[in-house]
């Protein structure tokens, strides 16, 4: 839990002098140094993990493996670290048009300024997306525009220094690549792109965080973030079958692992098999598949939908993502179904086919139950569980008892990536409305494409920056509080595994009494299974409405 008590934090965010509360900074931003102290930074990557990643990818993408401390003034950077950064910048400018255009055409109109959840929660001016980008842009001008170099500060140009590097490490790890600013930018400048570039550059000189690198390297070797080995992964999942049986009285039979010839490969964020409340979402998936008799299998090799590589660099993102198609091909499945995960879907939707396709060894996804052909996934061959479930409901293939969710007053949090990097907005809502009786939307400036991040995405969901996370999550928490107070909302649903973990902490902090769940848990809970016992509790063994006694 956060170090700061909520009473103190509540006053702090609304009253303490900051750019959000109307205080006027005395110094220009270039003159304000980044100061690291416990609680405002993530711990650096462990040496052996950096070594492992370094060996597995071409080039020197992760810098020199070493032990270093963020608060010390010597980060043990390579001699020529500036050269590496500038050269890295040049390479990336040549590879990504977005980077070039976004460096050149910001007019600093300020429309993005108050769109960032980190800014709203911290009031730190460098968390305004425009200034976050200027941290990088100032160096770009100095290195890639002669006119700006001569004019220097007049044109917003400055030298790459250690101080700048520290600023980068601080503020590009206070951005969750949620893209909310990009919705409001008249030129569509996307800070996610800029943060991705900055993080790639930081990695080149070995400036990194363990919370991202360790899951990424685990994911590479064992297939999932936690490093669960195949047998553990399978046992964990099977263990949940017992819970399902206990709650519903139904013994599920069709869960298999690594089975060749299955019709569908099902890939989930691995957190769904071992951590609350994700496990309930997982139970929901399994109940659904049993209910419709889907011929599916789960892979222990590609047991991670999430892709922490996407928080480091393009190469590692591609490498980790590559398992999905590799495994689909090995098992000979017809198509892939993806579970509820945010950044997994950013990668799957916008990158996978380009990076690791063509997936010509599979078929255009077709629901074996309804016959619906998912034309929108015709090339990538991967369908989102919400698309799949919504289609089932629409065709009346599910037997649903909505009242089993009557103890839930539900709202829906659009996860950043499905919302702004995919456009998955109405499918989850359609599902919720069909499995729950009480559903209330949060205020319109906080949902759909304007949704607020949980505050802990892109590998920032680590305990050492809890205060920061609670601040960054404030806009989301505040909107939940609104419907909690107004409609008694007690369940915050979402389609993202990081959300399920981080929103839980966020709710415990800001809105005690509100729980977090995946959509599929609500579905699973409402399904009338063949041979089920009379239900008196939900998948969490919580009493159903009217069964509290």
């Amino acid at each position: 839990m956060a170090d700061t008590k909520i009473e103190q934090m509540s006053i702090s965010v609304a009253k303490e002098p900051s750019m959000m509360t109307g205080a006027i900074p005395r110094k220009e931003w270039m003159d304000v140094p980044a100061v690291f102290k416990p609680g405002n930074y993530c711990y650096p990557g462990k040496k052996d993990i950096v070594e492992y990643l370094d060996k597995n990818l071409p080039g020197k993408l992760f810098g020199e493996p070493r032990e270093w401390k963020v608060e010390e003034d010597d980060w043990k950077l390579p001699e020529n670290w500036k050269e590496i950064i500038i050269q890295g910048m040049k390479e990336r400018l040549d590879k990504f048009r977005s980077f070039k255009v976004f460096m050149d055409c910001c007019v600093r109109c300020g429309a993005c300024a108050d769109k960032c959840h980190f800014f709203l929660g911290t009031g730190d001016p460098k968390n305004m997306p425009v200034l976050r980008a200027e941290l990088l842009r100032s160096v770009y001008r100095n290195e890639f525009s002669k006119a700006s170099k001569i004019l220097g500060r007049l044109a917003g140009a400055r030298e790459m220094t250690f101080g700048v590097l520290k600023e980068w490490f601080m503020y590009f790890y206070q951005c969750t690549e949620c893209r909310r600013c990009s919705v409001f930018c008249p030129y569509g400048i996307d800070t996610a792109e800029i943060t991705m570039m900055a993080r790639e550059l930081l990695h080149l000189v070995g400036v990194n965080t363990n919370w991202i690198l360790e899951p990424a390297s685990n994911s590479n070797r064992t297939g999932n973030h936690l490093g669960l080995q195949p047998h553990t992964f399978a046992q964990n999942a099977e263990f949940l079958l017992d819970d399902i049986e206990e709650a519903t009285g139904v013994k599920l039979n069709n869960l298999t692992f690594n089975r060749k010839g299955a019709e569908v490969l099902f890939i989930i964020p691995s957190a769904d098999v071992f951590a609350e409340p994700g496990i309930y979402t997982f139970m929901g998936y399994l109940l659904l598949f049993e209910h419709i008799g889907l011929d599916y299998t789960i892979s222990t090799y590609a047991s991670e939908g999430g892709n922490f590589g996407s928080f480091t660099n393009n190469e590692l993102m591609k490498k980790l993502n590559g398992k999905m198609y590799a495994e689909a091909k090995r098992l000979g499945v017809k198509w892939i179904l993806g579970g509820e995960c945010g950044h997994m879907w950013r990668v799957v939707h916008q990158y996978m086919d380009t990076m690791n396709g063509p997936a010509d060894f599979m078929e255009v996804p077709k629901s074996p139950i309804t016959g619906t052909v998912f034309e929108n996934a015709a090339s990538s061959k991967m369908v989102h569980i919400s698309e799949f479930t919504a289609d089932l409901i629409k065709h009346g293939k599910l037997k649903i008892d909505k009242s089993r969710n009557d103890h839930r007053i539900v709202t829906f949090h659009d996860s950043c990536n499905p919302a702004r990097g995919m456009g998955l907005l109405d499918e989850p809502r359609y599902i919720i409305e069909n499995v729950c009786n009480a559903f209330h939307e949060m205020p319109e400036n906080t949902i759909r494409e304007q949704t607020f991040c949980c505050g802990s995405g892109t590998g920032l969901n680590t305990g050492e920056i809890m205060d920061l996370r609670m601040r960054a999550g404030l806009p989301r928490a505040n909107a939940v509080k609104h419907v909690h107070d107004k409609h008694g909302v007690n369940m915050l649903s979402c389609v993202c595994a990081i959300d399920r973990a981080t929103l839980t902490s966020l709710m415990e902090y800001w809105n005690p009494g509100v729980e977090v769940c995946g959509i599929s848990e609500l579905v699973g809970n409402a399904l009338i299974m063949e041979g089920e016992k009379e239900r008196d509790s939900g998948l969490r063994f919580e009493p159903l409405a009217g069964m509290e006694g």
């Binding site: 931003w29 108050d114 001016p125 569509g188 070797r221 929108n376 996934a377 456009g423």
Partner: protein, 351 residues
């Protein structure tokens, strides 16, 4: 402070032109040579910049989806904010470029005690941005009367429409007022709002002050210190036809006006003003959201980056897998190997 620097620079430029034309040869320099040069720099470096952008590929489809995607047939797609076809993208881009649709959706957040965050709509930036750009465009097109002979019909029509209130002599153009008003708003906004002042660079003030300088000298020439329009047109039209004439009747203020425009032209391709070209090339706006439907190719995709192989994975964990009843490709050897060889290109760390 930064705004004063910008003002100082613009005043110095004005003085330079004013004094410069009094020096022998100065009138030709400021009236002919520099304008030609400025215009050439503008066009050439505008193209250079855009081609430089074009040289970098768009490796991935990264549209910012701002509405419901193309999904199941019965789910209503938001075809403008989340287009999946070229025509949708064109619609999105046209509304963006012509009506600044994104700015129209702008909001303003406030934090109150509680803490409680509140969001309201905020349309002033949209309104004044739009007014500024369109009045600027109208003024530019109106100026075509000085660059064409005979003057085409659309310029006459604009002249008439812009002065339809028939106030004063010469007739007052509404766009002159709107242009200066909007510029002043945009400038004051940067100077007064604390967060705007904090993010504003000197190079944000400069173009605003420069444009104000151009606008004010233009207005002065029309309404206050009137100039010989016929003499000026002989020069401006002469510049277009390659036969520039500088009549003796042209006075200092005109050269100041012209020089500031020359500076604007030459400054344009090296500055943020290139958002004029950039807005068309933004990959978050100009791409269709169809990356699962259609395959797109990344020209620098590196096929040598492969996932950690299944074979390597199974080698690592075969015994455990067999024990747990998971299917394997290769049956374990009767006696478990002490250490499996790492797969090619892979190393193992102890788990």
């Amino acid at each position: 402070m930064k705004v004063l620097q910008a003002l100082g620079i613009v005043l110095a430029l004005m003085l330079l032109a004013y004094v410069g034309v009094k020096v022998p040869g100065g009138r030709t320099l400021f009236g002919v040579v520099l304008p030609y040069l400025g215009f050439a720099v503008f066009i050439i470096f505008f193209i250079v910049k855009v081609m430089d952008w074009a040289k970098s590929p768009v490796p991935f489809r990264i549209p910012t989806t701002s509405g419901q995607a193309n999904s199941l047939p019965w789910i209503k797609q938001n075809k403008l904010d989340c287009p999946s076809t070229t025509s949708g993208v064109i619609g999105r881009m046209l509304l963006e470029v012509l009506l600044f649709r994104t700015l129209f959706k702008n909001t303003r957040a406030e934090i109150h005690e509680g803490p409680k965050l509140a969001y309201g709509t905020s349309k002033f930036l949209w309104l004044f941005g739009l007014l500024f750009h369109y009045s600027f465009l109208t003024i530019l097109l109106r100026h075509m009367r000085l660059f064409t002979d005979p003057v085409p019909g659309f310029v006459h029509a604009l002249e008439f429409a812009d002065g339809f209130m028939q106030v004063g002599v010469p007739t007052l153009y509404q766009t002159d007022i709107v242009f200066l008003g909007a510029l002043t708003f945009l400038l004051l906004r940067r100077m007064i709002l604390p967060y705007m002042r904090y993010i504003t660079l000197q190079s944000d003030y400069f173009p605003l002050v420069l444009l104000l300088g151009i606008g004010i000298t233009g207005v002065l020439m029309r309404y206050v210190v009137r100039v010989d329009v016929i003499g000026i047109k002989m020069l401006s039209h002469g510049l277009v036809t390659g036969k520039p004439l500088i009549a003796d009747s042209i006075t200092g203020i005109f050269f100041i006006h012209l020089f500031l425009i020359t500076v604007l032209l030459a400054y344009f391709p090296f500055s943020k003003l290139m958002h004029m070209g950039g807005v068309f090339l933004s990959p978050t706006r100009n791409l269709a959201n169809n990356s699962r439907m259609k395959r797109h190719v990344n020209p620098w995709n590196d096929p040598s980056i492969k996932p950690h192989s299944y074979a390597g994975y199974e080698d690592d964990f075969r015994d455990f897998m067999v024990e747990a009843g998971l299917p394997v490709e290769k049956e374990p050897e009767p006696k478990p190997a002490e250490e499996d060889a790492p797969a090619e290109g892979e190393t193992k760390s102890e788990s």
